[in-house]
Structure formats: structure tokens, C-alpha cells
Amino acid sequence: MASKPKLRTGPDEAVAEGMLERRHAVAALLGDVDDALIVTGLAGSKDDVLAITGADCPTAFTLSGAMGAATAMGLGLALAQPERRVIVVTGDGELLMNVGSLATVGVMNPPNLSIVCVDNEHYGETGWQESHTGRGVDIAKMAEGGQIPNVRTVTQDSELAEAAAILRAANGTSFVLVKVAPTKPPPIHRSRDASWHKARFREAVLGRN
């Protein structure tokens, strides 16, 4: 019989020994984001970013639908604002849904674009089903195969600082896959009105709506 996913019914209550806690890891990777324009994936990765920026941050555009859109949206933003640092923070499930976007980004190679994939190896919003990455699929290799020049995989605390420096260096697109424990930190409330967030984002970036 062909392989099946491992059964899991919910998140881990605590971070297992030797694993990274997602909010700590994302905060360490992003560093100071005052100068950054951010696009996030859904749910967990959105909340990881809002935990750093605050829910009212105008320059963080957070998806609550259109799963798979974050990377291409970040690309459009990075090309439109070449002088600004643009960061996409998304999850393994979101990125796998449109993994070809890594190839589109790779051939364009905008130097101001960084992508962080928070890989908890599960679909945390739909019942903690195991994702492909829990079964050996390596999105960092896909990013490398997509010609993104600066790619790192981070699995432990000691690797965060170097990966953070790569994300900040503007010598080509960077991609960091960070393996994190399958825990569920508290969600952060934010309006899901994308039109309102769009208007605030443009006001902050362009000085007009």
C-alpha cells in the first residue's frame, strides 16, 4: 500500500525538546521591521507577523483567503517598490499551493525581496493534517531549484542569526525555510477587510490612497 500521512488530532501543547518555537523564530529572523513592507500567508504565519508588528501595522498585508497568493503578491510589491525591503512570511501549506511562484520569483530575482516559510509540517487550521513537508518534501530545495540565489534551512536557534542576515542582505532574493514545532500560539485579532487594509497600506507607502 502506498504511503499515508501520519495521524494527528491537534497541536502539541508544548514545544518539544530541540525544536524551534514559531513566534520566537520568526521574530529573530525578521528583526527590526520598521522599514519593511510585509505580505503574509493565512492564519499561523499572519499571526506570527502581527505578534511582531502589532495588529494595527499598516504595512503588513495579511491574507485570510486566496491561499497561495502571498509570494506572487510580494513579487508585484517588490517590483513596484525597488527601494523598499519586502518580506513575504508564509506557511508550508500556503506555499505548496502555488509552489511555481518560487520559480517566477527566482528568474526575476528582485534583490529587495525576502521570503520566510514557517514550516510546521501541518495544516493547522483544518484539523492538523500532515502536509507534504512532514513526509519528506523539501521546499528549500524547490526554492533552490527555482533559482532563488540565497536559500537557507533553519532548524535550531544557533542558525537564526545567520539566516536573519541573509534575509536582510540585498544582493538577490533570499528564502529561509524555518522548521518549527507544531504548536498553536494564541491567535491575534485583526479585521479581515482586505479593502480597508489595502487603503491603509497604500496611504502608508505612497502617502495617498
Binding site: M73, G76, L79, S195
Partner: protein, 177 residues
């Protein structure tokens, strides 16, 4: 410079007049001139996509950053975009696409018929206004109206370049691709 119909060059000039700086596409013969002009033009980004929905998200990101973007695709690609149209509709993002039609007037490949017939209803159900162009004389006035609605009124518009305009792709009776 090319053997493409004159309207294709005029359409590129029109898009540049509206300050479009991001041309995204999955290659298609009906858009060949626009694609090649975007590659040759040092003032614009020419974004080759792996699948059409990337171009929908790209436009939303471009708008966040204050740039104008256009998606060039074939009707079969419209089906790939549907979930991402929710980003355009819910976020009220401006959106402009030029769709070269297959599966309509004179189509010889039966594989193209289903998506060809579904293209306009699917887009309209997703909140996108469609303008069909059947003659060369109608192309530039329609494209100008579409650009005005998308880039000034921030509406979502698709211009469908029909097979009456483009001509149906010729197949031998044994018909391969």
C-alpha cells in the same frame, strides 16, 4: 519589427500611455507582440509566470506599491485564476487582463471548447466585467475604455480577444496540438 497585426503594437503603446510597468503572462501566440515589446522595453518589468493566477496576485501586490500591472493570458488560463479572483473582488483591487480566446468562433480543438465557453461566465460570476472584441477597429477604443475603468476607477476588467479578431488556430483534419 514584426509580422504581428498593427493593433498589437498600438495596444502596447496604449498600455504604456497608462503607465503600465508590469507585464505578466503565460506565453500565447495572441500576445506575442506585447510580450516581445515588454521584453525589449527597459522601462518595464516582463514577468513570465508559471501559471496565470500568479499574475492576479502580482497585480494586487503592484497596486499596494503604487504600480500598474496587466495580465496577458489565454482563455484556458482563466480557469487557473478563479480562487485568486476573490482577492480582487474582496479587496476591491484594480484588475486588467487581456484574454486571447480559444474554444469559440471556429475552434477546431475540442479540448478548448469547455473552458472557452466558460471563460466569460466564470469571470463575470467572479465580479469581473468582460468586453468582447471582434474587429480590429473596435480593439483600441475598447482597450482604452478598459484601461480607464481599471486604472482610474479601480474596477476589474477583462478584454476578450475573440477568435473572430485573432482567427481560429488552423488544424489539420487529424489535428494534433
Amino acid at each position: 519589427m514584426s509580422d504581428a497585426p498593427a493593433w498589437q503594437g498600438e495596444l502596447y503603446d496604449l498600455l504604456r500611455e497608462f503607465d503600465v510597468t508590469q507585464f505578466s503572462y503565460v506565453p500565447d501566440a495572441g500576445h506575442k507582440e506585447l510580450i516581445n515589446r515588454s521584453i525589449a522595453d527597459p522601462e518595464v518589468e516582463s514577468v513570465s509566470l508559471t501559471t496565470e493566477e500568479e499574475g492576479v496576485a502580482l497585480q494586487a501586490g503592484a497596486h499596494l506599491g503604487g504600480a500598474k500591472s496587466v495580465l496577458l493570458m489565454q482563455s484556458s488560463g482563466v480557469g487557473n485564476c478563479v480562487n485568486f479572483f476573490s482577492l480582487i473582488k474582496h479587496g476591491r483591487f484594480p484588475f486588467l487582463t487581456f484574454v486571447s480566446m480559444r474554444g469559440d468562433f471556429g475552434e477546431g480543438n475540442p479540448w478548448q471548447l469547455a473552458m472557452g465557453k466558460a471563460t466569460q461566465p466564470v469571470m463575470e460570476d467572479s465580479g469581473i466585467t468582460c468586453f468582447r472584441v471582434e474587429t480590429e477597429a473596435d480593439l483600441i477604443p475598447t482597450a482604452r475604455a478598459a484601461c480607464t475603468m481599471a486604472y482610474q476607477a479601480e474596477d476589474a476588467i477583462a478584454v476578450l480577444l475573440t477568435q473572430k479578431l485573432l482567427g481560429a488556430k488552423a488544424f489539420s483534419t487529424g489535428g494534433e496540438s
